[in-house]
Amino acid sequence: MVRGDRGPLSLTRRVLGFVALAVGTSLLISAALILAAVERHFAEQDLAELGVAHAAIAQALAEERTGNGLAAVLSNAISGHHGVYFQVEDAQGRFVYRSPGPDLSAAAGAFPAIASVRPQDLEIQRVDGRALVGVEGRALAKSGDFRVVIAMDAEFHQGFLGAFRRSLALIMLGTGAATLAAAWFGIHQGHEPLRHLSRSMRQIRAGRLSLRLDPQSLPAELRELAASFNDMIGRLELGFERLSHFSSDIAHELRTPLTSLTTQTQVMLSRARSAQEYREMLYSSLEELERLTKMVADMLWLAKSDNALIELERTDLDLQREIEELFEFFEALAADRNVSLTVSGSAPPIRADRGLIRRALSNLLSNALRYTPSGETVQVHLSREAGGVKVAVVNPGDPIPQEHLPKLFERFYRVDPARQRDGEGVGLGLSIVKSIAESHGGRVDVASHGGWTEFSFTVPVD
């Protein structure tokens, strides 16, 4: 569209180029055929006339006259043919007669023999400044053969042909231009749905991502494009929604502790207090600030993970060993809650980032420990699945209502909003597990029924 733009040719130009080529070629071919037909027609006419003249001359010669008698007969022989010239020689090459007009001896030998001539053999020869077509023939008489050269003026036909060529060229040019204009108009009209599509797309912006194109209002060729575009906008809308929810969640998560910090500080400062009270307040602020720090760190980590900025340091990892070491880490906590930890099953080594896998499994374990009743067991089960190696962390406890399951891995999602602030994490633990699984090309799943909840983590084996 834009001149000087180095992109591919515009569709209009492309199609017009092809149309011009096709129309030009076909017009040129028809012009050539028409011209050839006309020329051939004239040549046939010329040849027929030359043939008639030759026959008349031959007949005159057959009357065997001599001298003035012969000349009179010959001059009469072609009296009906305007613009026809001839000359006659006897067998010995002696000049017998020549009609008034150009001297045909100059063109001797240049004309084809009438006995074998075809229309296309007739060629224009310049004789005495005239354009002539002619033939050579023989005329039989008792006294011997005569050689006859007959020619006729080609000027008239040439003039006509010239004019015909010019008008033919004009007609062709006109037809070509008209066809191209029509083609351009057609293409332009044909592209109207594209412009319509583009206008519709322009309506869609950040605040109006719910708008969709209507494929039914478009020609068949564009429906698929519109459908793909709708799909893309759908995905964008989802991502955008998630992002804006995340932002508002962040704002909310930050606002609550900030409000409490501000209020607490203002209240403390409103009158003089003991050193002990100030110290208490500073401790409490510090705890809140640490929570905020952890939340910011987790959110930054998730943001980096979203942008694929986490670089995995993959090593060969024996999951059994990792789980045993994690059990050692959680040993005190589990004992404190009177919960046992067991591991079963086996899995081949995987290539994964040790620190991240530990972090993910640690989040799953602390989550399971939090919801397991005293005296029960958290089971970790390793297995080889089609999708890779699966680590399932299973704990007994109240089932999680089905409607929450798909959302558990979302950021800041909590089954019970009231529990928001008394728990230990900041509501990002499971999102981090999901990001870690996905950064390894794996996935997370959750199922809850029959008094058991299972969170699993699958990582592909290469």
Binding site: E290, A297, E325, E331, A332, S362, S366, G425
Partner: protein, 230 residues
């Protein structure tokens, strides 16, 4: 021990200086890269704490200039950005450690002490003792007031860490990393529970109490109650 802090943020710089001075170090503070470089070259320090993002010359360049000038002083980098390439750059330049903002002061203090200890000959004692608590390292046995205390492997490792850093506040993240090799902030209060259980074995039946909670910072093992902070 003389420390040099190069930090342009006024509040952070002031509090770092105050905190480290109160922890017993002699502290100099430079608020930009040129002053920092000048001080580091003209005076002798045991450790430089270097902010990476400085208004005039960035921390990397200051440290490179120091190394070029033949100064082998250990450097602890502080940065707001945690990117792998930064980390690699810091280590290539002979930075000795790397701390991402925001960090806990207790964490910084622990790292500073570790870096300062690095050079010094490690204590190769077989026995560690604090008050009447005694650790027999080769046999992994602990006794208090002559009584044998049964500890799990990790409980012993935790106690050993606390004893080796006697008198220092150890942040939870450092404990998790040193004892269990878990280098992330856990979602749960694992460390608190582990300390509580250790304390039940070490301190409950004995006096004086050795393991102290330093609120908002971490844990400290000491024979004496610290001034007001515990």
């Amino acid at each position: 021990m003389r420390l040099l802090i190069v930090e342009d943020d006024r509040r952070t710089g002031d509090y770092l200086r105050q905190g480290l001075a109160e922890a017993g170090f002699t502290v100099m503070l430079a608020r930009n890269g040129l002053d920092g470089h000048h001080l580091a070259v003209s005076e002798t320090f045991d450790l430089v704490i270097m902010d990476v993002m400085l208004p005039d010359v960035d921390g990397w360049r200051v440290v490179r200039a120091l190394r070029d000038a033949g100064k082998q002083v250990p450097v602890l980098f502080l940065t707001a950005r945690d990117r792998v390439e930064d980390r690699v750059k810091g280590l290539e330049l002979g930075g000795d450690d790397y701390l991402v903002k925001p960090f806990a002061f207790a964490e910084l203090l622990a790292r500073v002490r570790t870096l300062l200890r690095r050079g010094a000959a490690p204590v190769m004692a077989d026995r560690l003792q604090v008050a009447d608590l005694c650790l027999d390292l080769p046999r992994r046995r602990a006794t208090r007031a002559g009584k044998r205390i049964a500890l799990s492997q990790k409980e012993f490792a935790l106690l050993e860490l606390l004893v080796r850093h006697q008198g220092e506040v150890l942040p939870r993240s450092l404990i998790a990393s040193q004892v269990w090799d878990m280098n992330f902030d856990s979602d749960s209060n694992v460390i608190d529970v582990a300390i509580r259980r250790l304390r039940a074995k070490i301190d409950d039946d004995f006096e004086p109490k050795l393991i102290h909670t330093v609120r908002g910072m971490g844990y400290r093992l000491d024979a004496e109650e610290a001034d007001g902070a515990g």
